[in-house]
Amino acid sequence: MEVETASKTIRFKLNGQACSIASNPVTRTSDVLREELGLTGTKVGCDAGDCGACTILIDGEQRFACLTAAGQLEGCDVQTVEGLAKDGKLSPLQQAFHRYGAAQCGICTPGMLMAAQSLLNVKPSPSREEVEDALGGVLCRCTGYSKIVAAVLEASGTETQELPADADSGFGSRTRKVDGEPKLLGTEIYGADTAPDDSLWMRVVRSPHPRATFVLPSPEKIIEENPGLMRILTWQDVPGNNGFGIYPHIKDQPVLAKDQVRYRGEAVAALIGDRKSIEAVTDDDLGIEWVPQDAIESYESALEGKISPVQEIHEDNLLARGFLKKGDAESVYEQSLIKAQGSWETSYVEHAYIEPEAGYAVKRGQRLELFVSTQTPYMDRDEVAQVLGIGPDQVRIIPSAVGGGFGGKLDCSVQPLLAVAAWILEKPIRCTFTRPESLASSTKRHPAKMKASASCDKDGSLTSLSFEGDFNTGAYASWGPTVADRVPIHCSGPYFVPNILAKTRALLTNGPPSGAFRGFGVPQSAIAHEALMDSLAEQTGIDQLEFRLKNALRKGQKTGSGQLLENSVGQAECLEALQSRWQEWRKASEEFNNHSEIIKRGVGIGCCWYGCGNTSMSNPSTMRVGINSEGTITLYNGAMDIGQGANTIMIQICAEALGLPASSFQFIMGDTDLTADAGKTSASRQAFVSGRASQLAGEHLRTQIIHLAEAEEDANLRLDGRTLWVQDKNGEHSILLSDLLPRTNGDVLVGEGTFDPPTTKLDENGQGSPYATYGFGAHIAEVEVDLKLGTTRVLRLAAAHDVGKTVNPTQVEGQIQGGVAQGLGMALMEEYVQGVTENLHDYLIPTVGDMPDIEILLIEDPEPLGPFGAKGIGEHALIPTAPAILGGIRQATGVSIHRIPATPDRVLQAIQQKGMQA
């Protein structure tokens, strides 16, 4: 079968060099660059001109490589990210990106750099607005764009932010990302960027129906007709357990569905062959006989029992429940004079990491090796092992650089399928999900339907809070039980509330599985508790910030789960830090409103608290550090860096503990054969848990050095080639590293540290100490609403967070700015609907033009268990944003939004309904 267009010779200039290729001229330029010329610096996030990761310059103009036919390059001057640096030295723009921490995961970085460069080429000193216009076509999901814009302005010399010129590399400094350079050069290797040359490709066939039974006809005929198609895998090919899932006892999602599917996007078969053939054989060609069934797509239908349950073993579609009871919230509420209540509903939210799921698998002897973009190599290893029916020691996970995760790469995507294919065919197999496939198949933030009420006494002290939440967990368990558990603990907010009643349910529906997404249900419940706080404050006549400050959890108080907070409780300090801005912004918005009829402004506030680490569960991290005979220090870092910067801070912490500079470190990340298990990059646990393990590993190594040198504890260390100098008050001792016997990995000295944060089980009333520490925070946001159109713009936002101790200010700021962007998206525009928003132009995430100015205030109330006092920030950063924005809308318009996101039509409808009532 002739499936493609004839090749044509195309001649163009590529990064200054003449280039001639024989290629199919309708091929996307992004594919030609990546697959034919090996220039994988140009990234592909959507193939549809929606994300801009593939931005290159053609004759100096920025263009989407994914929308440019290779044939159109004829005679053109093409520049890619690989052409920016000269002789391996970062260009001024790249240097500015490096200094500002403008690259987090780095997947959008090449596109951002090229877009910015196109502007700087013609406009060396652009305004901020011009920078935003130039970057408007590139999406970033990590940074909130702040540092990117700052870096471009700095490179142009237009604006310079206060940053130490040459940061040192110790704990607390703005150490540049240790993996920053490859991200800026375009040499970083992500999941889709490499595979053995003889790899076959895999394409997954997925259900077009939310619920259906199906019969897959025998594949012989279609394989015969398509010589490039080697194999069609079905459920029968899975050698071990045809099921996977987060919980050891719930492996409910089939690797390949047997005869029924439970959500649109569920995998039913995998085509293996050469790339062109597996793409050319369409799903329709397979002749699958689908019999669509009535699907459960609402909370009501999940609970009614009219339609047969999503999973046979959960007759009532109830996957999990959560419960917490402290005191007697119901009767206190009944008797209270000041009360507030409401109901809220949120939507499916997509992680929208710009790097789609990708990787390759290869069988080596009796072992399976998987190169994959993941947040959790050790869980992947165990999952793949049970799917193949082999031992975990027979599986090696080698993580790629991860182009964004946010919780979405905790669940398996390509892993089990690639493993099965490589194991059976005994050939390397690679796969990259398309964007629509990624959107349809991957997990989402749980949609929530919540009812809550709260009361306080006359002077504004909270007396009760009740919360009931149904969380749509989709077709399979994923992290549903975690959400059901986490929400009751957090749903009363960072406040002291004497009486609490919280009930949650995770309900199965025929929607995409809801999984882990930055906050595990807490961002949803924060919308409820913060709206209640505003209402109670208003009724008592107390300012909304002061009301929160009055009720803020403090040291010596007990949480809703009865946990005594002894250390690191910076909630009140966060609120105090915002007081002056709050007053000033509110005044400014009132003044603005006096002169404006149609555009109204308002300032809202949101608070958060969030337990760092897994809930009431052992979640240890082990870190190792070694020095080899050459004097190279290696951190064997099992804590996945998904852009947040674990590679950098783990080294900063270890270096501080060891007493040698971070610049003398190299690292290995997440390889299950080389690093110890440091647990998942989730639950805001890496800085806190793995950070502490890293500190302990550094101290362990230091102890050995001190012992070897017979020096004093407080000795200074110095590394000079192969000689380690140890100086104490008695003089200088030297250790010649090449004299020592090599141990594992060629290291002559090895330090190891393990930390498991102390927690206790929760009793039947949800009482206990589920987390070893909590992070706290508050945001205020000034918004502007167009009363006639319902559009909302966030003008400025200030974020105060108690991070214990700041390991690296640049990275902490980056986490907060990125969290704000995701919170803003959740509040105003993000809503995934299966079958409807399966691309990045119907599923909207914030662009550079949607972000407010963000001011960051770091509060440091040290956590004694954390590394040098530090604790987590990853999820905290997102939680207060949506409540603050919704509060701002409320203040601007007088209306409360109960259905999230607050899209223009919902806001306008609420405004009109209020108008009718008035």
């Binding site: 193939d47 440019t68 039509d905």
Partner: protein, 274 residues
């Protein structure tokens, strides 16, 4: 085997089209997104080699924009005030990458109900120039776009450009677009207006077109009549003025919302021209 042609002249292109049907390709901003994850198995006529089709010229019959004229070309062109709306639209399409590659005529041929070029070009009373070996013809935009993704272009025809009657000196254009984010956003509702203002601050001739509120963008002729001779503060938009709109509910907004905000957008656009 599928063919890929990249002719250097219109004649060559028309001759190929007379022999074999080809999908025309220019900026690729609609072509490739419709083929994500799919192999390209069709004959393609890449028009980007026909240099004579790119550019904006003043001709006797009006202002001509070649079929390969990009949004960026329009944005930077020195055009009469009546083109302000079209130029504003060019800045709100996608990101700079889309503006650099995407062509106005491609936007027309794709015939999406949310095509940002259409209301503006309707308000400018643009005509579409079609050529084939059989001859050439010119269609009003209303005749050219038949419905959602449907045009009057025959398989052997090529859109070679647009012809816009030279606007009078007192004509001003404006564009208002409502979307849920700033860049890379598809319009929930949009309107393009070109109005001639008399010296007494009354509207002379006015053209008002609305997009994303029906299967294809349409002119609101009743409202245009209503506005003529009025001052800004005298304009009242009533239900009957919008009766030809038939918006749908979709993920971006509900139909009622579209009807609700369209009047406000029109008023803002008219005000901009005043």
């Amino acid at each position: 085997m599928f063919s890929y042609h990249r002719p250097a002249s219109t004649e060559e292109a028309l001759s190929i089209l007379s022999r074999e049907p080809c999908v025309p390709l220019a900026g690729g901003t609609d072509f490739y997104p419709a083929r994500v994850g799919k192999p390209i198995q069709e004959n393609v006529m890449d028009l980007t080699g026909i240099r004579s089709l790119r550019g904006i010229e003043e001709r006797a019959e009006g202002i001509w924009m070649g079929a390969l004229t990009t949004w960026t070309d329009v944005m930077h062109a020195d055009l009469p005030e009546a083109f302000q709306g079209l130029q504003q639209a060019s800045r709100t399409i996608g990101g700079v990458q889309t503006q650099n590659a995407g062509t106005l005529c491609g936007n027309l041929c794709n015939a999406s109900p949310a095509a940002d070029s259409v209301p503006n070009l309707m308000a400018l009373e643009a005509q579409v120039e079609l050529e084939s070996v059989r001859g050439s013809r010119r269609l009003d935009l209303q005749e050219f776009i038949l419905g959602n993704r449907k045009t009057a272009k025959a398989d052997d025809e090529l859109v070679t450009g647009l012809l816009i009657p030279k606007p009078s000196a007192n004509a001003f254009g404006a564009f208002e677009k409502l979307g849920a984010r700033k860049y890379l956003v598809i319009s929930i509702v949009m309107t393009g207006v070109v109005a001639e203002w008399n010296e007494d601050q009354r509207i002379g001739k006015i053209r008002i077109a609305v997009g994303s509120c029906s299967e294809k963008s349409i002119r609101l002729e009743k409202l245009e009549k209503e506005c003529e001779g009025k001052r800004m503060d005298q304009i009242r938009i009533r239900t009957e003025h919008l009766e030809n709109l038939s918006p749908i509910d979709d993920i971006r907004a509900k139909a009622d919302f579209r009807l609700e905000v369209v009047s406000e957008l029109i008023l803002r656009a008219v005000r901009q021209t005043s």
